[in-house]
Subunit: 251 residues, 2 copies
């Protein structure tokens, strides 16, 4: 169930890593090595790399290449545009980066989502996100149902569950249970555990053993302990990943 989020940021690297793109890549390599026995998936948040421009974009590519071939990868890029533009984003994420899946914003409608679906990779559509801003529009009630429910119902009516998943924040366990009743077999990507405060036990109960990836980023890759060197850092990250993986299995 565990997805490790590579939200790597040069300004947050521990002192034992060089504060540069090279240091960032070395950091990612060490995080992947420390967590790959416990992670079912890795999620790469494009923004953290794009802030460094084309070198950062190249670092995304190099990071995808570090991930073991049998581990699922998520391009967390939140893309979405009119048809011919979404098709170009799809080529970027699936042909250039060779990701296994992408996060897509539904606001522009189905012709903006379709080019990603056509790739036959998994598309995670934003439904009810983990942030407090999810109240602003996603929960607006249209014809008796919140917007995010329209997104899920219209999408499941249109596409096979194997083609499309949904992003549902770990900060909304009650809604997650309701979402499971309308999307029982779609894979859910559940961010918001750890730094954002989502509760794993509540999420596992609401998800009821259905297909899901629970993402943890900062709470695994930046351990809150005093770290002497790279070996110590790696051990601390490994321990955290193991703890999260065990929690997700046994509860």
């Amino acid at each position: 169930l565990l997805c490790v989020g590579l939200d790597s940021d040069i300004s947050k690297l521990p002192d034992c890593f060089e504060k540069s793109i090279e240091g960032l890549l070395e950091f990612n390599k060490s995080i992947i090595a420390a967590t790959c026995d416990f992670a079912s998936a890795y999620k790469i948040n494009f923004a953290f790399y794009e802030q460094y421009g084309s070198d950062g974009f190249d670092a995304i590519k190099q990071t995808f290449e570090m991930i073991p071939g049998d581990t699922f990868t998520i391009a967390d890029a939140k893309r979405g545009d009119i048809g011919n533009t979404s098709a170009a984003y799809s080529r970027s994420v699936f042909n250039f980066f060779q990701a296994d899946s992408i996060t897509v914003n539904p606001y522009m409608g189905f012709d903006s989502i379709e080019p990603f679906i056509e790739s036959n990779k998994l598309v995670f559509l934003l439904a009810l996100t983990s942030n407090s801003g999810s109240n602003d529009f996603q929960r607006l009630v249209c014809n008796g149902k919140p917007l995010y429910q329209h997104v899920i119902e219209k999408t499941t009516a249109r596409y096979d569950a194997g083609n499309i998943g949904f992003v549902v924040g770990a900060t909304h366990p009650a809604e997650l249970a309701a979402i499971r009743s309308i999307a029982p077999s779609n894979c859910l990507l559940i961010p918001g555990v750890g730094a954002q405060g989502g509760d794993i036990d509540a999420i596992l109960a609401a998800n009821a053993d259905a297909l899901a990836l629970i993402n943890v980023s900062r709470a695994i890759i930046y351990p809150q302990t005093a770290i002497a060197d790279k070996a110590h850092y790696s051990a601390a990250v490994c321990l955290l990943a193991q703890e999260y993986a065990i929690k997700m299995k046994t509860e």
Copy 2:
């Protein structure tokens, strides 16, 4: 009023340009030179460059640098994510690329929009987009008003008109007139003229001389005439830009 959209695509370059990133950059340079006397702004569609990976990302940077310093630039990137991630996208677009404005997707709410606003650059929030998929969610009626109207009203209540504009497709002139009554002084970015079929006269009438940029991409950068060489191509593009600029001025 004219915004020229640099939706440049190697596979669509005319034969007189090399089919490579270098050819694409030469093409952009020639388009900018041919249109800069008539364009108030240039819009760079990130997807068309990201499909070529890090070299493409670098080509975005080089294209921004080609644009005359006094001409307004739009990073058409449709970004938006939780706060710390939107802040990283903001650094990418405003610090690395030095764009004057960005297109942002509102679905994730105000805490996802805020980091872009804080940059004190102009943010174009997607409202009613030009594609047919705009019917799927943007027009869902919540509390008696379509979703896109909630986006506009909540946003104008929150931010000064100088900080935020809206994307309204040229394919919806009737709605544009209604939007002008609730957002009279926000800048509108109006795509969808040309290849997508939006009618300039109807748009100008609906906009009623308010602040707007009307984007034309394919209908200017890919003239539908037989082209012998680069000089011919440049002349054809220049003529089209002039025609569009005149139409937008006089009607």
